[in-house]
């Protein structure tokens, strides 16, 4: 072999067809979906500031974020599922069913650990059902989770009927609890984001999630147990849904079967707005984190501006479509 070995940083004139030149650094940093999300977030805060001076107060933003903290928490774990090349549309329903079971157990004055076990256990079982169908039977996750979305919501209604299930007074008000100067749900969300960002960015396991989503066949050939990774992700989504349900109940004081109805739309929207690629393999927790904040600011802003709920829904729909277009565009530029 006569050629001089070429490593990193060597000033090789990458001759004709060996490799494309690297992208300039500014592009690597700025032409990425997270940057876009961040810019939108700043713009949204300023636009909100025009509507009401409260928007420029960080406290106001933090307090209003508690309204979407549960769904944001679920969006974080959903981000991992989407990066792995799958989708889970059932967590909002799973959250409702688990929360109903949890509240129901509490209404019997059972010991707290039993109630929590029932709540978490139900989430685990729902996650297990999803993974058995998707990984065990090799069915497409979009269809399976549309099915279980309906099923879990239906079961919640069967169990709870149309009535609200109240929880004891002492359990109510997690959003009023301040820890380190933050409302507790916000803190849980931030800690979860840090933990998942670490998992995704710094561990072998996170690396393998990206590899699975990028090219599952190649991942299998490289000895990566992709089925196990996906199964764990669906289970984790189920458990996260039950935790989100417990936070939700504490905030609302009671639960009905329609808890978080349509929440899957917002979760997917957060992941997409944050630059997660719907076909897997790309996305970051930071992106979803920023998108969750952005969405909270937009929703609060729209409410402040007295937009009708129906109009707000339209805005969300438009945002979802635009975010997919933007993400695809950016990725198509960087993928050769």
């Amino acid at each position: 072999m006569s050629e001089a070995p070429v490593g990193l940083n060597s000033t090789v004139s990458a001759t004709h067809r060996d490799a494309a030149p690297p992208r300039p650094l500014w592009q690597v940093i700025f032409v990425r979906p997270e940057t876009l999300t961040f810019v939108l977030l700043v713009l949204a805060i300023f636009a909100g500031g025009q509507l009401s001076p409260y928007f420029l107060d960080i406290r106001y933003i933090l307090d209003s974020f508690t309204l979407t903290a549960e769904l944001s928490l679920l969006a974080l774990i959903l981000t991992l599922v989407i990066i792995a090349g799958e989708i889970d549309l059932s967590p909002a329903s799973a959250m409702a069913l688990s929360a109903c079971l949890f509240a129901y157990a509490m209404s019997f004055d059972w010991p707290m650990w039993i109630c929590v076990s029932i709540g978490i256990g139900s989430g685990l079982i729902m996650g297990a059902i999803n993974s058995a169908l998707i990984i065990g039977l090799q069915l497409p996750s979009i269809i399976v989770t549309i099915g279980t979305l309906t099923l879990y919501r239906g079961l919640a209604q069967v169990i709870a009927g149309d009535k609200s299930i109240r929880v004891p007074e002492w359990y109510i008000g997690i959003d009023k609890v301040q820890v380190l100067g933050l409302p507790a749900p916000d803190l849980i969300f931030i800690l979860a984001a840090i933990a998942l960002a670490f998992l995704l960015g710094m561990t072998v396991w996170g690396r393998q999630i990206y590899q699975t989503g990028t090219n599952e066949t190649a991942a299998i050939y490289a000895g990566i147990r992709t089925r196990r990774i996906k199964a764990v992700l669906f289970l984790a989504t189920g458990v996260t849904a039950s935790i989100a349900g417990m936070i939700f109940i504490s905030r609302l004081g009671s639960v009905r079967y329609d808890l978080g109805l349509g929440g899957e739309l917002q979760m997917v929207l957060m992941a997409m707005l944050g630059g997660t690629y719907i076909f897997g393999g790309r996305g970051t927790i930071l992106g979803t984190f920023l998108a969750a904040l952005l969405l909270s600011v937009i929703s609060t802003g729209m409410t402040t501006a007295n937009l009708l709920p129906a109009t707000q829904l339209c805005v969300l729909g438009v945002l979802l479509v635009l975010s997919i277009i933007a993400t695809n565009f950016i990725y198509s530029r960087t993928q050769r």
């Binding site: 050629e3 001089a4 090789v12 990458a14 690396r207 990206y210 000895g223 393999g281």
Partner: protein
């Protein structure tokens, strides 16, 4: 043109060349096809015969060159245009609409009338039945395509060609999935079509079929047409020589390696529908070639050894111990590595960095308690890149930005990091520039010299001859030869690789 003896030219192809992504796969091919002849196209895998046929059928468009039909130059833009010109390509496994009836498949794309007019079911069925009678086959035209045997599906394709009054019918390896009786039926129909004055192009690997059916034969090699002649003027030996007649490259020379103990032994490995009763052994330091035609089951054996699609029956012994390899992770634990044939599908993570691609199979080497040590990863990848002289702009660029050869080196680097004792290489030099190929040959030699057992699957005979200590040849799912280096020639390998229909089927 036109008259040539008593023969009338139907198609005159001039200077046909075709490149895919800058790689020339067909070079200046001139060919005359006469009316009323059956013309065989022969050649090794990738010699260009199928590409040429697909150009005639409008599937590909030539990069250069012209095609004249009955003396008029024509542009064959797409398969539909070919159909209108009376050229039909019959696929080995016909593409059809499995849930529509035979009759509906026959008239597909030919139904006239406005979108709202009533479908003339009765006429369609009558016409279809007539065609079937014409062909002399007994197929109920009201049945759905699904459930028809492949032979019957081919008949429907042929019937479709007749329905559109095709003048040129191209059959691309039609006999591979057929039984001998079905082959006979196909041949008698082909002869009848010829006698009606139609032209048939017949692509096959089976020499005796070509001999039994065809009038003239054209042989391709490395994208060139090397000969066209009447079949009776050529012996089998002539044909094989013309097919492979490359000169051996001088630099291809196996290094001497110490041959040691048996590293991998396979006994009676069988997977229904893929391969049967595969037994062989590879020693440390030995390079064993696995030759054969595409579809002979070579890759399937490799996939079974690596646990991707395990075999149903048989034993795999690694260093004398029987092991159950149920998935690739187990294979890696047993220090088996597999560089797959199709890089894009089973090798690279296109959008991820070169670095991540290289370290994908050795997570334990780059991490501590599951947490990645980025500087260790960086060192390991840098080291691999230097050892294999992978040429790139930055280790952090997506691997998709590298050339094919450098992508392939990165995948090889990935597997070398697992420090394999048994290395399976499936067509490792396909789609790679000549210069990089030579580097690969050197590397494979060095790997064997360092005491690894290597199974090299290749369709390039010179590669097998130059590198291997022994060459196993597979044909139709079985090992048909085990040829030591001293006796291995292109002829002996090809002889074992080309299916001998009668023999194989009798067993």
């Amino acid at each position: 043109m036109g008259q040539l003896g008593s023969q009338q030219t139907l198609i005159e192809a001039r200077g046909i060349s075709k490149s895919f992504a800058g790689v020339e796969v067909l070079r200046d091919v001139d060919l005359h096809l006469y009316r009323g002849e059956i013309h065989a196209l022969l050649g090794e895998n990738g010699a260009g015969k199928s590409t040429f046929a697909k150009i005639l059928a409008g599937v590909h468009r030539p990069t250069r060159g012209s095609i004249a039909l009955n003396g008029d130059v024509v542009e064959i833009q797409n398969p539909l245009a070919a159909q209108r010109l009376g050229i039909t390509l019959i696929h080995q496994e016909p593409l059809s609409f499995p849930d529509l009836s035979v009759a509906e498949n026959l008239v597909l794309g030919r139904l006239a009338g406005s979108p709202w007019s009533k479908v003339p079911w009765k006429e369609i069925e009558e016409e279809a039945a007539q065609l079937m009678t014409l062909l002399g086959v007994d197929i109920d035209v009201k049945r759905p395509m699904r459930g028809l045997s492949i032979a019957d599906q081919q008949m429907v394709e042929i019937a479709r060609a007749l329905a559109s009054d095709s003048r040129l019918i191209i059959m691309d390896e039609p006999t591979a999935p057929l039984t001998p009786k079905e082959v006979e039926t196909l041949f008698s129909i082909a002869r009848r079509l010829r006698d009606e004055g139609r032209t048939i192009i017949f692509i096959s690997h089976r020499l005796e079929e070509v001999r039994a059916l065809c009038d003239r034969v054209t042989i391709f090699r490395d994208g060139n047409k090397v000969a066209t002649d009447t079949i009776s003027n050529l012996t089998d030996a002539d044909i094989i020589r013309l097919m492979i007649g490359r000169s051996l490259r001088e630099y291809l020379k196996k290094q001497d390696a110490q041959i040691g103990d048996v590293a991998l032994e396979v006994k009676g490995l069988t997977k229904a529908g893929y391969f049967k009763d595969i037994s062989f052994a590879i020693r440390r330091g030995e390079i064993v070639g696995l030759g054969g035609l595409v579809g002979a089951g070579r890759t399937d054996v490799a996939r079974a050894l690596f646990g991707i699609a395990p075999a149903d029956k048989g034993e795999i012994l690694i260093k004398g111990t029987a092991v159950a390899i149920s998935d690739p992770a187990v294979a890696i634990d047993h220090r088996v590595a597999f560089v797959p044939e199709d890089r894009a599908i089973a090798g690279i993570f296109r959008t991820l960095s070169v670095e991540q691609n290289i370290t994908a199979a050795v997570p334990e080497k780059i991490s501590n308690a599951g947490i990645i040590n980025f500087s260790t990863e960086h060192e390991i990848a840098t080291d691999s890149i230097q050892k294999l002289s992978i040429r790139l702009a930055s280790m952090r660029q997506p691997i998709g930005e590298l050339s094919g050869g450098n992508q392939q080196k990165s995948i090889l680097a990935r597997w070398l990091l697992t420090d394999p004792e048994i290395l399976i290489l499936d067509e490792p030099t396909r789609g790679i520039d000549i210069g990089v190929k030579a580097e690969f040959y050197d590397m494979i030699g060095e790997l064997a010299a360092s005491g690894r057992a290597i199974l090299l699957i290749s369709s390039e005979l010179p590669e097998l001859l130059a590198l291997c200590d022994r060459v196993l040849v597979m044909s139709e799912g079985r090992i048909t030869a085990d040829i030591p280096r001293a006796e291995a020639t292109q002829e002996s390998i090809m002889h074992a690789a080309v299916p001998r229909s009668a023999e194989v089927r009798a067993s």
